[in-house]
Symmetry: none
Subunit: 200 residues, 4 copies
DNA sequence: GATGAATGAGCGTTCATTCAT
DNA sequence: GATGAATGAACGCTCATTCAT
């Protein structure tokens, strides 16, 4: 990597980091490109060297934390499925909290709006999260932890529904709904209950 | 009611109905006030006779369908708690679907943004939904259907989390998540399971 | 005067009084017709029963206090010209202060803007004030207090210039220029000086 | 200065010049930003590259001519105080006439409205003019032209009151009051009279 | 005389994006 | 790769005024 490339990488990272900070406090629509570039110490035009549209930086911001979860799960191969799911749930909600309410909102928006990210369907959050959950369950079937007739599709839906439910409750309850505490409660109380029929 | 008042009511209704239609297709931020008034056949200024800000019409649109649910539940006094909740869940998701994805998004926004609906905290959707669910459960306790030590708060959280989860999945899955079918599945599969420990 | 006419008069008076209060605090352009009618307890339409345009109420507000001065001067026939002018100066500045800065501004505007009060040139403040000052001086000539070759036009200009100067200083100095105190100083110090060559 | 900076300067100058022309003919509130930019041959947005609010361009327009007076007075060190004041009075009124009635009005407004020019109190016209007059008088005291017990504050008030009086008369008399001719008359007739007691 | 719903022109301002330097 | 001046579409909202009731 040449020095120029290094600097470029640094600049982009600075922009992403700055944008996250600003969005967290104020929200996507109340922060404009100049706010970001000014705080990042670069010129307005530089933003467009790295992102085609303002919306694109949201993807960059959102993906990073969640992508780490996948890597972490890879290191838990010897843990059982309940532990893995519990871990995933907790980490997922941590990422949600970390990203902040305003970024959360932006997910709903980005994913849906057909004008946004049209060429890159993989980028859609629901698909991504759905896939990760399904993979966890499929691996458990392959690893003989879950029966081979486990309704994976159904369970994935139940779990994703739970996760998005907590996320939305957090967003909408104005602090009355505490996501991490609630995740724990769900995992302790219901996870085993739901999986029990399918455990080998 | 004088003729003038009648006309005024009609005009407002026309605006609300038109706005709902337009938001459903295109979304709140892609429809401007003039789009609404033009289609409703009134002048731009008339909009502001009835709504202080563009955002305010969303509240009007959102409240109506949900408020009907409460009335309907009053007519189900002889039904048991499972039936009531099943009914509520189904009707809630019907209202969600009826309101459309774009209005749903607006809820998250409205509820959160402290600049919106500030004078009327009761109007906040989460509080409203939370209260309705709690009331259903409390009545079941009063009616001796549920044990007196039922953790109402906890159950309310579980249910609201489920509802918002389904709503968000619907919003984010681009049609892959079918809310009404899913509601039924949840009610059949899990409702009884969750309530069983507390049924008398 | 029928009861209806009486009520009408009362309503108009109420409007004028209310408008003055509101303009004083906030200024002509920051107060709209509805602010006035609401505070006055009548409907918006009623305003237009009494005033053709929003601007017209300013004339109504402005004239009243100044027109009293003329009447008061009529009662001072036995006083000498210095006393009369001193009295006029003081009362003029009292009216300025009473009307408030925002109304003062409106004078400059109204008088000039050719779109305003075009049909009624007499209503223009400068002409009105000029005439009143000239009349005072002319009467002094007729009453042999001032020599017959007194340059009335010139003196009128000097005095009106002084009055408007104090008014503008008051408007622009943000409170640093105290108009009544200053009026007194001018009258004591300079009035006699200026008139001396012409006194009989 | 790079070519870009030069162009930017030119653009700003063009805007200021165009705005002055337009305001002169029609007045601040009857000219909108687009009128200015269109006539200046730039886009609407460009206006806001140089001025935060529409009002801000008035400051720019107003300051330039008056600031020249100070420089010119510096070149008159060998002239006596009467000559200096006469010069200042004439130049002040020339600037007033040059700026035009509509800009004059805007001064009263700018200086007063606490929402305008809040961060830069020095920019207030009254203070600025007051200071310049006082400096002229103080220098005359330092230069022993005026006695050391000259009531500078008082004289400054008298003169500023005269200047603003002429300005307002010009604004309000619809052409009946000729400012330059009047200035001369004042300087010839009264200036010496007023200063005489304090001349050494 | 009073009402207040309806009108609709009008405008300041924002801001994502482009592109010549 | 970086800059920042220029662009220009877009829009919410205000408000004086009218007029049918």
């Amino acid at each position: 990597m040449t020095k120029r490339q290094e600097n470029a990488k640094k600049t982009k990272l600075k922009l992403v980091k700055t944008a996250l900070e600003l969005f967290k406090d104020t929200g996507f629509y109340d922060i404009n490109v100049e706010d970001i570039t000014k705080k990042a110490g670069v010129s307005k035009g530089t933003f467009y060297t790295y992102f085609k549209r303002k919306e694109d930086i949201v993807l960059e911001i959102s993906r990073a934390p969640f992508s780490e979860i996948a890597e972490e799960l890879d290191l838990m191969k010897d843990k059982d499925i309940i532990e893995k799911l519990t871990y995933y749930f907790r980490r997922f909600m941590e990422c949600v909290e970390f990203s902040g309410i305003h970024i959360c909102r932006q997910w709903t928006r980005d994913v849906l709006d057909p004008n946004n990210v049209p060429e890159n369907k993989d980028s859609q959050k629901w698909d991504y999260d759905f896939e990760m959950l399904r993979t966890i369950l499929e691996n458990a079937v392959l690893g003989k932890e879950l029966k081979s007739d486990t309704p994976i599709e159904l369970l994935t839906h139940i779990f994703i529904c739970e996760l998005y439910g907590m996320m939305t409750c957090w967003c909408m309850s104005d602090g009355k709904f505490e996501p991490l505490q609630w995740t724990e409660q769900f995992c302790n109380m219901q996870l085993e209950n739901i999986l029990k029929p399918y455990l080998t």
